[in-house]
Symmetry: C5
């Protein structure tokens, strides 16, 4: 999450102060103009797709025995959100959390549905930072409703698998669909982790040999991205564990083993994130050591030059004095003697430095 | 909390040494002159407001079946506090905690009432620091008593909602009212967090390019504010969790789901606070790196200037000597030769520095 | 605890090696000459005080139905300790711990009594350090025995309250008396915390503007005091919690709510101690930053002076050379030209530094 | 794990995004050309070995009452993996984890088998870094299937013991075999730990006397190796504990005591790893202190030389001035007086430095 | 533990790779030539001592109703260890752990005996480092077998108390004897802690006033000793707790209260160790601050000398120039004027430094 955005969010979050709890207020950035609803209705044998349809259509299909997936793109239209709430009998707090993009990942069991909040992390190529998107899932008896901040491609693979009837997915109930959607979100994390890994590798390679002030900025940026990832993934772990262990009748036994697998993947992401965090901490130290090494080298050169020439300059200064009675000045070999002395002093210094291993 | 105030508080806290436990002693700063009592009495259909009324009035209304909210502004009048204790049959330790502004947030279940301690964090524009105010709630069968250190506006939104009969609030019992008051307190935290976020952003933007000694002071000030916030919010989390899970008959089932939501908000504040803490820690490091980068640049310039001119100064010193027999001095082109030598030495140095990437 | 003392204690502790466990060995410093026993015997209506009396007297009174408080000042007289053990049927390990001033705070339930170890922290004005004193309580059916290392005033307030029959204390049983004594000890902690708070404030105020090497020593001293406090208070928290939750019939139900209050106070002390610890850690960093800031400023001045004058000194050196053929020396305006050149170089340097924001 | 490799793995891991969960995808490096299956079938009296045989052979033998150990070298042949899955009725998620070389160590109980994931750590002599290999075990009623990334010698000792009928191993069931294989893997860790210990010792010996920039790089490399080891060993601990405490009928009572022993070994490795980690952290600090000590020594020499000669150079400069009226220049002993003064100043400086303990 | 030794141990530990688990392999240093067995057999009335006797003698006595203590000095004779195992029916893993000097402290309950592993820490005066010795105890119905790496004096005090029939010890069963031996080991820790405390005090006293490079080495050595102690004591705490809470019939109720006391002592050692660790961490920081303070002082002197004399040297350089037209050179008071100017510049500098509080 970029800094500016975070501030704005907090601003909007505080704008809720004074409102009755359970009042849905959209506090994110409006990422697209129109809310768009897509519905897929399927069972083992048939599959119907309705693009850009109405909520009514989805709600009617959800009543039938087939599995209905209602995908809502855009959550800034509070009227729409409230009619979803009314049609599917959702708790007012669920509606509030649906549109509160600051809500951290969590799973909440209600008598008739399961409410799941997730975060999609994607790498924004233009701002060069990790983008966080708020996703919610409502898992009911025969339906799943997914809410996205804007039309994205994260669920395309699930859609594709449904269409091609590949895998187990078509023969399964709504809980499997919800699992597939969660799995798609977690798979996205690997992409973000990869990008961060690439950046880390790029910097790390030259950090010891050629540190630049920009690297520090880059390291700080990566630390923030890691922070965003951690905030998305750590609560997810508990969340998936809670769904797996929940006694909700909406989650069938055969789905639980897949949820355990998802739990494993979440831990894998956490492991990578923590490893990168360790590496970044180490890189910060390496950068500082590296900078200080260079500084030390520079100081060493200064010291060597100065300590060799300062005494020599003193010597030549002595024979630049204008005293009338300076016998050395009259010696025929005085000048050459001075050179000899200076040469000896200089060599002595160099030998001393060599012995001290400074050069 | 400002430093001076903390010290004073500790002083007063120690003043309690030797007194019987359960003796209420006001240890805060007397923030206003007179204790003022406001009462709101309502049920689904009616609402009566009594401003600046007596305790008796409130106590009488609390006996009726309607919900009575007694708001006590000012807790330094121990006589008043003790009569509240007598009328509502409060435990002596409750009275002690009511006026002990050092008491950390907690919830305590007594047979006939629930005692809740909270902290309001508000941003003081004049001292530029987070102010902490001690708030207590007594939740009884049909009444809620709230104690504030001084007349503030934190509960105005609840009052407004009660008056306008907006939301669920009017149709609900005293536990919902207590929840609404707690929610109002937590909503305040977002404002404080925002302010801190703003300050962080201001400093962070220029830290890498133009670090100033003041920034360090500012960072330390923000760290202290974060400390205050943490001390208010961390125990709150346990507290709200404990109320939600408590088996007290005063908390009805339908209120618990709202308390869980409040719990979520508390965690959200904690998340933000911890994020800011991480950022501030990082900013401290950035500041130090930044300062040390500038220092290094300065030292580099010194080194380059000194290592170029020290040998040259030695050379000109040599020919400033007054020996009678210095053949070079008589050479026609001696002077120009010296310039040539010096020019070569200087250029050699510059080339060396370029190769070392120092310039 | 002062360093010297700690070492001595460890020495004496190791002196116990090889003795049968349960052999009481006094390992502290003998803080007073004679062991002195004071007894207070009371019930709701009567109170009898016996100053400097015998153990027998106290033991006889303990057999009656009234509450008997036997206060033993001085624990170095092992004969006395052993007769207490015999008369009150104490376990040999209890006797060992009674006189082992290294024993950390703990509560141990024995069938016929409860054994409580505490530490009094007081601020020693002469050594300017926190003093730790070992206190033990034996809570029996109708009696409390308190053991102090030397005659102190920590229990005076309890004595006073008993005499003046103020508060609940007289109408209550031995468990309330034990609670009152523990409460008096915890109240003392606030005084020590205050003192440390004062010192912290004193240093902190001038740390950024005028850091002194002494401050570092002071910060280290305070860190050690905080360490002593932590060692006394952290185990106390568990201890009070354990007594409160224990199923010992010696602790009555009405006392437990007071113990919970004591538990709260302990946490409050811990909170303050941890806050001070954080502040001290921050102050150490501030001190270092501050010192390094000053150093940087000094280096900057050196650099500016040196980089301005080193080139100028070179120039004047050039025209101090004694070559016979140096045409500039004969120019009428040569001298003034050199001044002009030097002035330009100097100004150029200053402008460069200004642009770099070094001055 | 080496940096390059990690990046590649993450790449491949993300390549799984969009596939149905439970689809086995090999994401490691193909370490050998052909998958090779070796089977050992034994009971107390007989032992048959089949090198480079077919899966069918192994599956047939697994049906008999004897213990069958099927060792699969190479996991990149997904067709082979899938036929193993079909023959032994493995869950699709097990197959996915079998070939997912990023899967962290874990144990999973399925109704008919126990699935164990391990990591072999071996020290690669050419890259001078710790290599991580993915190993999986399937423990069934009468068989154990082990999957290795490539043909290694880690299980040679188990094979040898089986052949020579040494130890308890031949008389025992499949769970003992699985234990023996796990034990062989853990024994390998000691070798890796040793290598790291050797490197640490090498560097540590000269770090205080002769620090080199390379040492920092070496320390960082070792830190990464320790990171790899930790990632392999920490989950292993939980894993072995879980198997020991599991109620799976596949694990007999007599095996559990051996598993507890294995658990102890794992903790021993962890202890060593953590000790090395502490040492490495300390070595990093020592390196920095050491470098800074040398720098300080260098700076001290510069300061001493400069502060002695700068005033002397000034003095000789004074008498190099060409004023017409400089009485000292005409004094007969002026020159010698100046030498005397300079000698005194120099000696004064040296005395001052001695007193300050700088030399 | 000294570094060299650690490495050697790891080497030998890895030598076990490939052996059947439960194969006893001695991996320590052979500390003495011959294994020596001493037996003490006693009950309340009689005591028989057999020095340098055979295992058979001890095993026979262990069958009788009296308590038999078999002390085995030296554990490198695997034949002997195996015959002990056979005679007393010990598990093969117990034998392995008996001679595995890397085994960390633990307690393991077997049906017929309790197996306890401890570490003796003693301060080696010659190497100036903490020595670690591996000790095991077998507690059976009527016997205790203790295994030491070499003949030491740690159990002498127990032997003495048995002989002199002092204390409770003679009237008690084998569990009390085992407790007495463990207590003797823990008492040893206080001696090691003391030694470390002495070293810490020695260094700490002069660290702020006179830091030496050796001190850093000493601090690192002490940190390692503390590490050894921690590794011995931390697992011991769990271990003693586990024995105390175990339901083994070998531990009688009256012994448990003594074990709780031992547990307290262990915590006391841990407390001291952790305090010393904190102090050492602080001392490292103090050392660095102290070194950097001295450096700063040195740099300050350099800066002051240089910034005063560099401008003065420039001035005298100016009048050392040989221009023909330099009017000042002809002024009668020119020379004195220059001195005046230089004096003013010098004083100005000094005043500036005073104002900046640099001198």
């Amino acid at each position: 999450m970029d800094k500016k955005e975070k501030k704005n969010k907090a601003k909007r979050q505080s704008a809720k102060a004074g409102l009755a709890p359970g009042t849905p207020i959209f506090i994110g950035e409006r990422k697209q103009e129109k809310t768009r609803i897509d519905v897929i209705d399927y069972d083992e044998n048939t599959l119907h797709e309705f693009s850009d349809t109405t909520l009514e259509k989805g709600a009617d299909l959800a009543q039938t025995g087939t599995v209905t997936w209602i995908n809502v793109n855009g959550i800034h239209d509070l009227g729409m959100i409230e009619s979803v709430g009314k049609r599917f009998n959702l708790h007012s707090l669920t509606l509030e959390d649906l549109v509160n993009t600051d809500q951290r990942p969590k799973a909440e069991m209600f008598p008739s549905y399961l409410f799941i909040v997730l975060k999609i992390i994607s790498y924004n190529e233009t701002t060069n930072a990790a983008d966080v998107e708020h996703v919610s899932l409502i898992l009911g008896e025969n339906y799943v409703i997914s809410f996205l901040e804007n039309e994205g491609d994260v669920f395309d693979t699930v859609r594709e698998r449904l269409r091609s009837a590949k895998g187990r997915i078509r023969s399964m109930k709504s809980d499997s669909l919800a699992y597939a959607l969660m799995d798609a979100v977690v798979d996205q994390y690997f992409l973000a982790v990869e990008r961060i890994g690439d950046f880390i590798e790029n910097i790390d390679d030259r950090l010891l040999t050629d540190p630049r002030p920009d690297d520090l900025q880059e390291i700080h940026r990566l630390k923030r991205d890691i922070l965003s990832l951690r905030k998305a993934v750590w609560p997810l772990r508990e969340e998936v564990g809670a769904i797996e262990k929940s006694e909700s009748p909406l989650i069938r036994q055969e789905t639980r083993v897949f949820l355990r697998d998802l739990y494993d993947h979440t831990i894998q992401v956490i492991d990578m994130v923590e490893t990168f965090r360790d590496l970044l901490g180490g890189m910060h130290d390496t950068y500082l050591s590296s900078i200080s090494n260079r500084m030390n080298e520079i100081m060493k050169v200064l010291t060597i030059i100065a300590t060799i020439f300062i005494p020599l300059t003193f010597i030549v200064g002595v024979y630049g004095m204008n005293f009338e009675h300076m016998p050395e000045l009259k010696w025929t070999w005085g000048y050459y003697l001075v050179w000899l002395i200076m040469f000896s002093v200089g060599c002595g210094m160099v030998v001393y430095f060599k012995r001290k291993k400074w050069i």
